[in-house]
Amino acid sequence: MAVTDNEVKNKVESTQKAPQDTQNAKPELPNTKEGRLVKELLEKAPYAEGSVRREKRIEFRVPAERIHEFLEIASEKFEMLMQISVVDWLKEGEFELVYQLWSVSESVHAFVKTRISRENAKMPTVMDIWPVAETYEREAHEFFGIIFEGNPRLGPFILEPREYEKHPLRKDFNTLSYVKTIYGEDFDRYDESKTNYVI
């Protein structure tokens, strides 16, 4: 379902405002199911920032060192961890981890965002809260090189060891030049100047 203009505006405002006034963000919350949910969680975890994006979408920003604590609180309302998405912000030198949570009882999707440094990226595992996080963390480790402390099965999972060492989904991994080195002349569609590189 497409969002209406109003909701888009709301979303843009909230994302812009949230970093500016962190303390005064609470009064913005609308008096809906989502707003009450955010309020309830923020009371328990005052270090986090929360906002309502639109119907059935809420968003939290949590400092990386308290993410485990926050997710433990959140897991009471949000039964399922749908995914751990990692976004590599190369310019800022940070990884953004987005824990996608879904609440079966409330039917609300929550983004829990946290940022860590790209260098020596380390995170506590959330396997103890959601066992399924093992798979997601293995994947995030494989593609981005983030070390999840406490996860026993980090290592080559989907990739072969050679590609695994490169952590291919990082933004500084150039797949074109890598393919060029591995496959050499088979790679006949490669365009050095990249001028025509719109497929």
Partner: protein, 393 residues
Amino acid sequence: MSLEVPRELREEARKHDMYLTPIAKDTYELFFGPQHMATENFSIILKMDGNRVEKAIVNPGFLHRGFEKLAEQRPYFTNIALLLRICVPESDVPENIYSMAVDEIVGWEVPERAIWIRTVVLEMARVSSWMFWIMGFGNEIGLYTAGQWAAAYRERLMRLFEELTGGRVYHIYTVPGGVRRDIPGDKWLRQLRDTVEYIKSKLKDFDEILFDNYITFERTEGVGVMDKRFALKHAVTGPNLRAVGVPYDVRKDDPYYLYPELDFEVPVLKEGDSLARVLVRRYELEQDLYILEQLLDMGPPSGPYMVQDPKLKNLPRFKVPAGDAYAHVESTKGDFGAYVVSDGSHKPYRVHVRGPSQSHGVTVLEELLKGARLADVPVILKTLDNCPPDIDR
């Protein structure tokens, strides 16, 4: 020069007492796949103790193509032709989640006609995927007849897809902002209705031969039992979750497209074993056919099938405002989601797809296989409806 496995290797294996290992010791290692009928492109290493699985280690990755990396290098509209390959049996699902996420970031109001067509396409994809699943399940438990029939009925839907989109398997049809082509005409709608009725009339056959068969019950009852807490903690979704008694369906709980207006039920069973999973799927097939009938009764609304936006003139350089969105739909495998991040350029900054098999295909499978008989392995695999490309991407 020996072209079979090198002789020296064979000698080596004999020296290390690996020869006849499987019979000589009480536990042995069984490589289940990828060259195996039951696990296509997916490998499970089974540590067997006699006929029982002691430990299972899932080894995916035979299908990894780096979609998420490639999607970062292609413009928004080109990505449709790429991302739909994530879920092969149901290729409309990745198209739709990606399009929904992009629609949300751009803030487009998708025209009603396009919404109707998208809903129909999704439901057709669901029905054809159920047919494919019946085929797979029939083959696993040795009932080839049901499988062959189901694959034959699926061909009718393939023909309709071909007429609508131009492709049999990969449709490249749903694009951000609408759909790529209009419905071919009323004749197509009539054919779709005939097909729905035809498949509906054939459901009785499937009931008799497969779903109401004494041996199917014997094979699936009490095999691979999950409980509710386990399923929720492992983020199991779709029919597998509904088979443990949680009535979670994206179409009801986070409604998209026309689903709020449609009348359908979410079948829920609470046993949580393979039989419950099989029966939930069978009821859902019936519901999907019913939904298609309702959609056809509704008829396509008039209007454009693509959003009218001047920005769409220069498609390759079409820019999307910065932002992120998560969209998910109910596929036959479960909750299929996509997280799209845009940094304002003409290529997505990050696309992350959540395949349902990621949650039920790795840890859950490993847990359920523990203690299963060897003959139950394909049954558990197929009743979880594991789709390896979801995991690998």
